[in-house]
Structures are given as structure tokens and as C-alpha cells.
């Protein structure tokens, strides 16, 4: 092969790989384009304000009501409640794995956390529906076990692995010299963790928490099967709710093709997409802006 030939092959390969690498951006752009083309027509019927803040979701009545406020509130509620359970559990498990557990114990627990992440969402939804719901109903004497609380609990166990494994990476990458310095000054191991290790890894932990919440708000099968399905603004922790993904998944099959209901479901998809996009951009921003670089940034 001549030198010139080699050079041109190199150039072609570099361009080829660059082209392929942009596929992800292209795909993301296409997702947005198609969501918007299929979702925007609903705003000829309803204004954006009425769609987002409208309290009534009766897409099949005559005349239909397309207000997704209750769905948005439901999505935020299940995400918030599940975060309240998943953040402490996930971060504490991460601290245990990174700082306390012996090598052997961590070697067993870490794969277990990974397997928890690998459980299909439909299985967790099924578990919540046939085992947890009757249990809650019996023990707490509720009218239905399919409610906000049950859905949040199931979602928590779906976001714990995300929160745990990203936090653990962040904690693990804190330089050992920081720990040794703190211990040498007479701090106990716990004081070292809370005053030195956690502040040093807080940006990674924050990223983990946001990604975990992003996973919870977009999760479909669990809220479809376990949340109860009532399109109302919940008044208590034990009310049935209908988060956005559940509404889309449950109704798309019945919605007449390119009818108003169909457009409204795509528009709900836009709102859901924007929520997760926001979460992910914030996570990305935190991860880059407050990156822990060795010991110098403390």
C-alpha cells in the first residue's frame, strides 16, 4: 500500500466513524421531530395552557376533555414519593458498598444490585399488582392496593440500582489521600465519610439521584399496572393515580388513528419527553460543572 493510499483510507475511516457516531444525535432529533409532528395538531383544538393545566381528562367523552394536569401531578407525585424512598436507600447502599463492605461481601452484593436493575419492568409491575397490592389492602385496610404509594414503592426499587451504582462510582473515585488525611487528624471513619468523602463526591451523587428520578418519571409498565389508573389529582398517598406514561400506554391502542385522542397522547409524550430531557441536561450539567478532579478541587 502506498503512503498516499494509506492516508486516504485513514481519512475515509475517520469520517465514517464520525458519521456513525452522530447517529445518536440524529435519532434523538428524529424522536423530537416525530413526537412534535404527531402531537402538535391537538393544539388546534385545545390551547397549550388548557392542555397542561386543564383538570379534566375525558378523551372519549363527547365533547372530549383534553387536560393532562392530573396526569402531570400524578407523574410528579409518584416520582417524588419514590425518590423519598430510593435516595436514602440507594445512597446508603452505595456508601456501604464503597466504604464499609469487605471485598468478598461487595463482590456478592454488587451483582445483586445489577440483577435488580435487570429485572424487566413488567415483572416488577406484575409483582406489585398480584402480591404487594393485596398485601397493602389487607394490612392497611385500604379500598384498593393499586395506588400512588404502591406504584412509588415499586418505582423506588427500579431507581435504587441506578442511584446506587452511579453514587458508588463517585464515592469510590474519591482519592484515598483525603480519607487518610482526615483519619490522621483523629476523625472517626463516620466523620471522615460525612465531612470529607461525601462532600468530595456530591456532584456524582447528585447526578445519580437525578438520573434515578428521570428513570422513575419515564417508567411505564409499573405505573400502568400498579398506580390504579384514576385520572384525578391525588388527595392522599393512597389514592389511585394515572401518570403520563400509563395514560399513553393504556389508551394508544383504542385511540382512533390520527384522531384528536391520538394527537393528545402524542402531545402527552412531548411533555413527558421534555421532563426527562430537562432532568438529563441538569444531570449532565452538574456532572461537568462540578467534576471532582483529583484532590485539587477540594
Amino acid at each position: 500500500m502506498t503512503g498516499a493510499n494509506r492516508g486516504s483510507t485513514e481519512k475515509i475511516m475517520r469520517r465514517f466513524f464520525f458519521g456513525v457516531a452522530t447517529a445518536s444525535i440524529a435519532l434523538l432529533t428524529m424522536i423530537m421531530v416525530f413526537l412534535f409532528t404527531e402531537g402538535m395538531p391537538i393544539f388546534e383544538q385545545v390551547s397549550v395552557g388548557d392542555f397542561i393545566f386543564g383538570k379534566y381528562w375525558y378523551p372519549t367523552s363527547d365533547p372530549p376533555d383534553f387536560g393532562i394536569f392530573a396526569l402531570i401531578v400524578a407523574s410528579l407525585a409518584v416520582t417524588g414519593v419514590s425518590a423519598a424512598m430510593a435516595i436514602p436507600l440507594g445512597v446508603m447502599t452505595a456508601i456501604y458498598l464503597a466504604e464499609l463492605a469487605s471485598r468478598r461481601v461487595a463482590g456478592i452484593l454488587k451483582p445483586a444490585v445489577e440483577l435488580l436493575a435487570a429485572l424487566p419492568s413488567v415483572v416488577i409491575g406484575f409483582f406489585g399488582m398480584v402480591l404487594v397490592a393485596p398485601f397493602l389492602q389487607r394490612v392497611f385496610d385500604m379500598p384498593t392496593g393499586l395506588n400512588l404509594f404502591n406504584a412509588s414503592l415499586m418505582l423506588a426499587f427500579m431507581s435504587i440500582p441506578t442511584i446506587c451504582s452511579i453514587s458508588e462510582d463517585a464515592i469510590y473515585s474519591v482519592p484515598n489521600a483525603l480519607r487518610e488525611g482526615s483519619l490522621a487528624l483523629g476523625a472517626t471513619q463516620w466523620e471522615t465519610i460525612i465531612r470529607v468523602v461525601l462532600p468530595a463526591s456530591i456532584s456524582g451523587i447528585a447526578t445519580a439521584v437525578i438520573l434515578g428520578m428521570s428513570r422513575a418519571i419515564g417508567e411505564t409498565m409499573v405505573v400502568l399496572m400498579v398506580a390504579g389508573g384514576a385520572a384525578m389529582v391525588p388527595g392522599s398517598l393512597f389514592d389511585p393515580v394515572r401518570p403520563m406514561p400509563a395514560s399513553i400506554a393504556a389508551e394508544m391502542a383504542e385511540a382512533p388513528f390520527r384522531g384528536d385522542h391520538y394527537y393528545a397522547l402524542f402531545a402527552t409524550g412531548i411533555v413527558l419527553f421534555l421532563f426527562t430531557l430537562f432532568f438529563n441536561i441538569v444531570a449532565d450539567f452538574i456532572a461537568h460543572r462540578y467534576r471532582q478532579v483529583g484532590e485539587a478541587s477540594l
Partner: protein, 323 residues
């Protein structure tokens, strides 16, 4: 006034007495401080023990959740599993018979998704790890990948419906479902491949370049073969994730019921996750088919966790070999 020797002696004695007094006082104070310090240290240790107990409890809860879910699925599902269950088609409005079409469907969708995502994902990772230089473009590509990873599965389903099923006129089909799942697994494959490429020591690259090979020759003949096991591990993880997903195939590939095994990639198909959902929420007799639901869930868990276990063990061996 004259001072007698007596007075001097007395004064000295007094001074001595005082300093002795001071010394004992200091010693007492010191030991008191030490005791307090020890007590405080004890309290701090107690705090530590309490908090560490909470950490252990949190880890225990997380792991117990996994085992509780698996335990109940196995306990309730094992009796439904039989050779007939795995090899026959559903009968009597899906209240009897097996789940063969679902197993075949899930396998086809998963493999199709990987066949789509692997070439694109591996090539993307090669660009990111071998060719790209730090800068705005790289940052943008990474932002795209991270955001793609965060797109909710049901939104992928909507996209698949609008683009593959409607716009490209594929209809509800294996092809549309596999493409949708492939789009969703892309970030998983890219991430795993990048990790595998990063674990190849730089000395490999330097040696190859030093012998006069070009960047592409180095990547193709040296880096990729060394990273191959890691890349395959990622493929297995991507496959297992695609196989377990429900929302992306609801509008693009899966149907309630089709008695025949597919004969072309444009056929509709049954799939394990969707079958569980349908039987549990909209089946002919939800209570009667409960054992079938558990059985189907157990088969799905077995497939997914089995693949994950293989990947985890494989990766563990790899890491030991490299370190």
C-alpha cells in the same frame, strides 16, 4: 525590715507547696479532659456504630427486595412450567396451553434489536474512544447519547409507531419492533463498548503504531480483538434489556394473540413481557390464568437474569485477567 532566715525558709516551703498544688491540679485537670475526650470519642464511636448499622440495613433491604421478588415468582410460577408450557401454542382464549409463540417472539425481537444496535453502537464507541479529540463536538455527541439513554421507553414506543410503523409503512411487525428496541439499546451498547475499549492498555496501540500500522489497522487488528470479550458482554446486556421491555413493542410489534409462529419479518408477533401484561390486566379470566401469568413471568426472569449472570461472570473473569 529585715527578713529572717526562718521567714525565707517558710516562704520557700509555701512556694513549693503552691507549685505542688498547681501540679496536682494540672494533673487532675488533664485527666479530667482526657476522660471527657475518651467519653466523647466513645460517643463518636457510638454514633458511628449507629449510622453504620443503618448503612448495612439499607444494603440489606436493597438486596432482600431482589430475593423477595425472585422467591415469590419462583414459588408461584414453578408449578406452571412444563415441557408443554414451553413448546405449545396458547389454547382456549389463552387460558390453557403454552407460550411458545411468546418465547420465539421475544427471542426474535431481542436478536433483531442487537443486530441493529451492535454495528452502529460499536462504530460510535470506536469513534468516541479511538478517534475523537476533546472539544465541543465530542461534548455534543456525548450529550446526545446521554439524553437518548434517558428517553422513556413509552416515548420510544410512540416514535416507533410514528416513524417505523406509519411513516416507513412497516406496519405492526417484527421489523418495526426490532428497530424500535434497537434504537433504545444503542446507548447501552455504546457504553459497554467504550468501557471495553478503554480497558485495552495503551501499550498495545503504541506497539502497533510503532510498527508502522495506521490508526485503522491498529484499531481493527489490535484493539478490537483485545476488546471483543468486553464488547460481547455488552451485547448480552443489551439483548437482555431489549428482551424484557414492554412499552416500546406495545404499539410497534406485539399483539394479544396470534396462533401461528411468524413466517416473515413483517408479521405481528406475541412476546413474553406483553403476554404477561395482557393476561394480568385484560385476559379472558384473570384469576384462572394466574398460574400461566406466573409461569410466563418466571420464564422471562429466567431468560433475562440468566443472560445477565453470564455477562457478569464473564466480565469478572475478564477484569481478573487484565489486572
Amino acid at each position: 525590715m529585715d527578713i529572717t532566715e526562718d521567714q525565707i525558709r517558710q516562704g520557700e516551703a509555701e512556694a513549693e507547696e503552691q507549685s505542688r498544688h498547681k501540679a496536682t491540679f494540672r494533673a487532675e485537670e488533664r485527666s479530667r479532659i482526657q476522660e471527657a475526650a475518651i467519653r466523647a470519642r466513645g460517643r463518636r464511636k457510638m454514633n458511628q456504630r449507629l449510622v453504620f448499622f443503618l448503612f448495612r440495613a439499607a444494603a440489606a433491604i436493597t438486596v432482600t427486595a431482589l430475593f423477595i421478588i425472585i422467591f415469590f415468582m419462583v414459588k408461584n410460577g414453578i408449578s406452571a412450567i412444563s415441557w408443554e408450557f414451553l413448546t405449545q401454542v396458547p389454547r382456549d382464549s389463552m387460558t390453557k396451553g403454552g407460550i411458545l409463540p411468546c418465547i420465539v417472539g421475544t427471542a426474535l425481537l431481542g436478536l433483531g434489536a442487537i443486530a441493529v444496535a451492535m454495528p452502529i453502537g460499536v462504530a460510535s464507541a470506536i469513534y468516541l474512544n479511538e478517534y475523537a479529540r476533546a472539544g465541543k463536538v465530542l461534548r455534543l455527541i456525548r450529550l446526545g447519547i446521554n439524553n437518548l439513554a434517558g428517553v422513556p421507553s413509552v416515548v420510544f414506543g410512540l416514535f416507533g409507531l410514528a416513524f417505523f410503523v406509519t411513516y416507513l409503512k412497516m406496519g405492526v411487525s417484527i421489523l418495526a419492533g426490532a428497530l424500535t428496541l434497537g434504537a433504545m439499546s444503542l446507548p447501552v451498547i455504546i457504553g459497554a463498548t467504550e468501557e471495553a475499549l478503554k480497558s485495552v492498555p495503551n501499550t498495545y496501540r503504541e506497539a502497533s503504531l510503532g510498527l508502522g500500522a495506521t490508526k485503522w489497522q491498529t484499531t481493527w487488528r489490535v484493539v478490537l480483538p483485545a476488546a471483543l470479550p468486553g464488547i460481547l458482554t455488552g451485547a448480552i446486556l443489551g439483548l437482555s434489556r431489549a428482551a424484557g421491555e414492554t412499552a416500546p413493542i406495545m404499539f410497534t410489534a406485539a399483539v394479544f394473540y396470534t396462533p401461528d409462529l411468524p413466517s416473515s419479518i413483517f408479521d405481528e408477533i406475541m412476546a413474553l413481557p406483553y403476554h404477561i401484561y395482557v393476561l394480568a390486566t385484560a385476559g379472558t379470566d384473570i384469576e384462572l390464568t394466574r398460574p400461566l401469568q406466573y409461569g410466563t413471568a418466571l420464564v422471562l426472569i429466567g431468560m433475562v437474569l440468566g443472560m445477565n449472570m453470564v455477562a457478569i461472570i464473564w466480565r469478572h473473569r475478564l477484569r481478573r485477567r487484565l489486572s
